[in-house]
Every structure is written in structure tokens, then in C-alpha cells.
């Protein structure tokens, strides 16, 4: 079976392609990217006026399965992903039970095949039950296909545990992804510590908690000559610390979320927990610094930290509501609106942060339109204006801080292994 995507502007950072080309797909693989391909027997997908990119990748998603299906499961979460233009997402292990053994990794891979509409990479827990003490069976999970390891949601408090993880995982060439907020500095805190929290009397989570955690993890990784990935970086100083570490050759990579790239703690309104997230929304100086870091390559990729919760969990007192909100369906629109349409970033660089870079760093198959690669393709309408409405979400999550925001730019088609799974915002079942 052949398909041809015609007349679009193809951007494939991995192959340094940016121009008007056709993309030929055969049997679920990319066959060719070239101008005016003749393929009379192929089904034509017209991409005139649109941008054609490798399927977007999101390395930080909470699919909540197993155990918290009221928040999300593989069926709903991968549909949200496809709706947002993602063809590969990586799910975090802080589920109930925690994904800390190979049997669970394999069962989730099966679940993704059975109920998912996108590729799902499984991130295993670094420690047993994410207890921060004993290493989980990371080698066994790695051999079963776990893509990386993380105690995300928690800081790995014991330095020795993390050092053990770094040393042990070197043989498997797997990365540890760290949620970096030093615990004793953020206990009880539920928003950025700053002028806003001071005036509200809100308990704060200071940037220094992130800074010292990032610094420690980088020092440990450097000492062990291991790879470390900083999850959802949000503080200006932490960006500097990563930049300096990269300069001296430390194997550190970093990710940032659309909300940390665009929103500040001035958005916090205690009536609605939609702005509650860890790390918290920071100051404008921090926002400017993470945007700069994303541009200059200090920060390698954009991730959503998609963290859906059930409506009744988010609809409560701000301090008591769980942290996080859904992000898969707003990510592309937010970054296009705030970074591309404002001229802060060019499109190929922006797209590389959602395709090539995560694929390269985590050794994923997709992320490029090379011949023989999986036919994971996203078609984007850069100028489509739309208003975020959580009633239209495929995710079970609600209470996103972007609800009601007018955005410009949206994925209009998502193709996974040559199959059109989303068209014009609707999942094709």
C-alpha cells in the first residue's frame, strides 16, 4: 500500500530538509522524500499550505495506567497524543503499582498495542516502588525494552542511590531522567516562591530547590561518566548549570514544558488548581531563560509532562488539589503561538526539539523522514486559529491553564506507521 503526501513544506531536521517536497510512504515506512514524486498507484494526501514533519515525540507523559484509569489510560492518552500531533509518547512509571519490573513493562507494551493509537515507550522506575532507596530491576526492564528510567514525581534524595543507578545503567546505555527539586525545600509548597507567593501567603517552592538538585545530579553524572536527563527544567539558574556542564562535556540533556516556556506565577489564581504544577510556574526571567536555553540547544527537547487528573480531584482547594494538568492536546499550539509566531524561534529548530532530538537522545526509531523509517508523520496547519476547550479533549484530564486561550497553529493530521490516526482534530477509529 502506498500513500503520497503532496505539496507540503517538509521539515525534517535530521536530514536537514526544509522545502516543498512530496513524501512517499510504502507499507508503513517512509519510502522517499523528493520533489514531484510520480506515484499514480498511491493514495494522495494533499498538504498544500501545510507543514509536514516527522511525527512529534513527547518523552514525558503520565498515562496513569495501571491503577489510575479514572485520570487516564492508554486508550484515552494515546488518542489525546494523536490529536495533538504526537506519534510517540513515553509514559512515566509513577503508577499504581509503580512500573518497576520487566513483567509490567511487557504488559504495558501489549496494552499499547491493543488499545493505543500511537507508539508508547515505557519508562521504568529507577528504584523499587520509587522508594528512592534500592535499585529496581533496571537491567531486566532495559532488556525488555524500557526506554529510560526515572523516579519522576520524586527527587532521588539519596545521592548514593542515584550514583548506583548511574554506574549500573552504563552497561545498558540507558538514561536516568530526574525530577529535580530538593525535597526539604519544597515540602508543602504549591507555587513558585516569589513576590506572588509572599503576597498570597502561599507556601513556596523556590528555584534554589531545583538549582541545587540539578547541580548535584550533574556532578554525580559527571563523576560516574553517565548520562542524565533533567526533567521539566524551569529555573534560569538551572539552565545556566546545564549550559556550563554541557560545555565541559558532561553527558547531560534537558527538557522543558510548554507551560514553563510561556506562563509565570502571575497566572496563579487560588480559585482554580489549573495552574498548580511541579516544578511550579516561575517568574518572567525564568521563562525568558528557558526559551533562550531551548533556542541555543542547552535544552534539547520540549515535553508536555502531560499529567491528567480526574475532574473531582482538581476541583478542590488549590493547596489540596494534585499537581499537573493535561498537555498533549495543547503543546504544539502553545509553542507555535508563543515561540514561532512571535519570531522567537524558527520552525526547523522548534520542530527538531519535538522530533529529531528526543529520537536521537533516547534512541527511538522515529523522529526523521529517512527512507526505511516508520511512516510517522504529522501535518501542521501553522495558521489555524483555535480556542482551547477542555470539553473537546480526548484526555480525561481537565483544568489546563491553557483552557480558553486562543492559539495559532495545530496538527491537522497524524500518521502512525502509515495509518492516518487523526484527521482535522478527530481520531479515526
Amino acid at each position: 500500500m502506498k500513500q503520497i503526501i503532496k505539496n507540503g513544506r517538509v521539515i525534517d531536521p535530521a536530514n536537514k530538509i526544509d522545502g516543498k517536497f512530496d513524501v512517499l510512504i510504502e507499507d508503513g515506512k517512509i519510502k522517499e522524500v523528493a520533489a514531484d514524486i510520480k506515484a499514480d498507484d498511491a493514495e494522495v494526501i494533499d498538504a498544500s499550505g501545510k507543514v509536514v514533519v516527522p511525527g512529534l515525540i513527547d518523552m514525558h507523559v503520565h498515562l496513569r495506567e495501571p491503577g489510575q484509569e479514572a485520570k487516564e489510560d492508554f486508550a484515552s492518552g494515546t488518542r489525546a497524543a494523536a490529536a495533538g500531533g504526537f506519534t510517540t509518547i513515553a509514559t512515566m512509571p509513577n503508577t499504581k503499582p509503580v512500573v518497576d519490573n520487566a513483567a509490567l513493562v511487557r504488559s504495558l507494551q501489549k496494552e499499547a498495542e491493543m488499545t493505543g493509537v500511537t507508539h508508547v515507550a515505557i519508562i521504568g522506575a529507577l528504584t523499587k516502588g520509587q522508594n528512592g532507596e534500592e535499585l529496581a530491576e533496571v537491567g531486566d526492564m532495559a532488556l525488555s525494552g524500557a526506554v529510560a528510567f526515572s523516579d519522576d514525581g520524586h527527587y532521588v534524595k539519596r545521592a548514593k542511590t542515584l550514583l548506583n543507578g548511574f554506574d549500573y545503567l552504563r552497561a545498558f546505555d540507558k538514561i536516568i531522567i530526574n525530577h529535580d527539586e530538593e525535597t526539604s525545600l519544597v515540602e508543602e509548597g504549591y507555587m513558585n516562591e516569589g513576590h506572588m507567593s509572599a503576597m498570597l501567603g502561599a507556601k513556596g517552592r523556590p528555584t534554589v530547590a531545583e538549582d541545587i538538585a540539578v547541580a548535584r545530579d550533574i556532578m554525580l553524572a559527571e563523576y560516574a561518566d553517565a548520562r542524565v536527563h533533567v526533567a521539566h527544567i524551569s529555573s534560569a539558574k538551572a539552565v545556566d548549570i546545564v549550559r556550563e556542564a554541557k560545555k565541559r562535556g558532561v553527558k547531560v540533556t534537558a527538557e522543558v514544558t510548554p507551560h514553563h516556556l510561556t506562563l509565570t506565577d502571575e497566572c496563579v489564581d487560588l480559585r482554580d488548581s489549573a495552574t498548580k504544577v511541579n516544578p511550579p510556574l516561575r517568574s518572567q526571567a525564568d521563562v525568558d531563560a528557558v526559551v533562550e536555553g531551548l533556542k541555543d540547544g542547552t535544552i534539547d527537547m520540549i515535553v508536555t509532562d502531560h499529567s491528567p487528573h480526574a475532574e473531582e480531584e482538581k476541583d478542590m482547594e488549590y493547596a489540596l488539589a494534585p499537581s499537573g494538568f493535561p498537555g498533549l492536546e495543547t503543546s504544539l499550539g502553545v509553542v507555535l503561538t508563543s515561540l514561532y509566531h512571535t519570531g522567537k524561534m524558527d520552525l526547523p529548530t522548534l520542530i527538531s526539539r519535538m522530533t529529531t532530538n528526543p529520537a536521537k537522545i533516547f534512541a527511538l526509531e522515529g523522529g526523521k523522514l529517512s527512507a526505511g523509517s516508520p511512516a510517522d508523520v504529522t501535518i501542521i496547519d501553522l495558521d489555524k486559529e483555535w480556542v482551547v476547550d477542555d470539553k473537546e479533549f480526548y484526555t480525561r484530564g481537565t483544568h489546563s491553564p491553557f483552557v480558553g486561550k486562543k492559539l495559532k497553529g495545530k496538527a491537522v493530521m497524524t500518521i502512525v506507521d502509515g495509518k492516518v490516526v487523526m484527521k482535522d482534530g478527530k481520531i479515526i477509529e
Binding site: 513576590h195 509572599a198 501567603g201 507556601k203 523556590p206 488549590y318 489540596l320
Partner: protein, 320 residues
Amino acid sequence: MEKSTVSLRGKHVLGLKDFSPEEIKLVLATAKEMKQIIHRDIKKVPTLRGKSIVTLFYEPSTRTRTSFETAGKYLGADVVNITSGTSSIVKGESLRDTLLTVEAMGFDAIVMRHKNEGAAEYATKVVHHPVIINAGDGAHAHPSQGLLNLFTLLEHKGHLEGLKVAIIGDISHSRVARSDIWGMRKMGIEVHLAGPKTMMPRFLYQEPGIFVHDRIEDAIKDADAINVLRIQLERMKAGLFPSKREYARIFGLNDERLALAKDDVLVLHPGPMNKGLEISPYVAYGDNSAIQEQVQNGVAVRMALLTLTLTGGKDSEANH
């Protein structure tokens, strides 16, 4: 009282941040009328007859809850009290459902106290008919306390504009301090803060009209009033100050420090006091102390708030 175009009818009382100077003046003027009722032999007016008020307290309280209840009763309203220990809250009922339950019973005002900042704001999203009156939400706001402090200052000084007020102690965890800050600045009062730096919000100095001092002596100097905050002993256990002895020695308000202020300085304390810790008994019961008076003014201010929010106060029968 001057004819006012300002109306508070139907307004939620969440924090003084949301009050204009004119609205604050209206509350203070109304409280002055209300205070006369407290001194009457028959303390009952029909202003709020037929209105119902529920106090919903998720934290223990003596004076604030009793003060609101008394205020409602003097005005002829029916007042019901719900406290967390003796209600479905112990069965795990959410705040949302408790609010919907009391709304369904037809209450006109919900006076609520909650340990979490923003709980009262959240309540305004949940219910539609009742007025929400915040009686303290975490370290965020305690507007009726801020208003009674302003009322007490006004009664003694005759004016508010240009006064210098020191607030001493645990600013970080204090909703009283924040309500003072909002209310006092709106009325043109200069606010000087001091206390252990572990309990001083790091970024408060960025706020205009606020002066943060390292030593309490510098805050107290030439002050027209000093509001001494209650220090919670759990803060010591959390490592925010070393010992009671040291706190009293360095941060306690005693005669010697009081002498740095103006001669007619007014000493305020939101209560309950730790005498010998944040305030010496001599100061607490001394000539400059308005601490007992604050309690009575609290009832007057809460009568004013209930009247103004539930009836608008225009046809107030307080003087009948």
C-alpha cells in the same frame, strides 16, 4: 453617616485586596453605628431578621467564630455553626460538597475558616446564592481582622492616613499581617515589618509601601501602633527559631522596646496571646494596649460586614 454611593450588597468578603478605600470607609463608618448596639441593654435589632448565616470552621477558633455568631445574633439573624470535628467533614466530605449542602439549606452567608490559602475564593466558584465571608484561610487573608484593626486605629487616632504601623513576628504564616498590609496601605498607612528572617517572606520587600527591617527596634521606632503577631510553637519545632527564651529576648515586645515608639502608641494583638513570648504581660495589659477593645470592635465590624453584604445597609434598621 455620609450618604454613600458605595454598596457591598452581595459582595464576597475574601480579602482586603478586593476592597476599595471607599468600601473600607463604609465598613468602618457602619461599624461605628453597630458598636452602639453592643452597649445597649437590649442588644437585638431586626436588621437581619429572616436571614440565615452558617459558620463553617475547619480550624479551631474562639474569638472569630463567636464574634461572627454574636454579630449575627445581635442583628436578628439565625446563626448555625458547623465545626470540622462534629460534622460530615470527619466522614471525608469534600469542601465542595459541604458548601453545596449548606447552600441547599438556603443560607444567605457562609462564614468560613480553612487551613488552606484560597479556600474562600474557591468557595465562590462552588456556590451561587450565599455571600462568602472569609474568616481566615491559611496564611492568605483574614479580612475582618484587618478591618477591626483599622477600626481600632481610627477610633483612637481619629484618622488613618499617614500613620506608621509596625507588625512584629511571624509574617510568613500570618493572614493577619497580609490583611493589615492590604488594608493599611489602601488607607495610606505606612507598614513596617520585622521578625525572625526565617519567618519573613523573602520577596515582600518588592511590594510598594512596605518596609522590611532586620531588627524589630527599627520597625517600632516612632510607630503609632504595633501589631504583635502570635507565634506558634510549632514553628520552633520546624526549626524557624531556636527557643522561646531567645524569641522573647530578641523579638518580644516589652516595655523597653515599647518606649521607642510614640508615647501614644497603640498595641494590638490578634489573640490568643503567648504572654512572656511575643509580648510581655506588662505591655499586654498596659495603658497602651487595645487588645481587649479589639475583641469588642471585632463584633462591631462583623455586624457591619454582615449588614452591608446581606442588605446593602441602605435601609439598615440599626438605629431603630
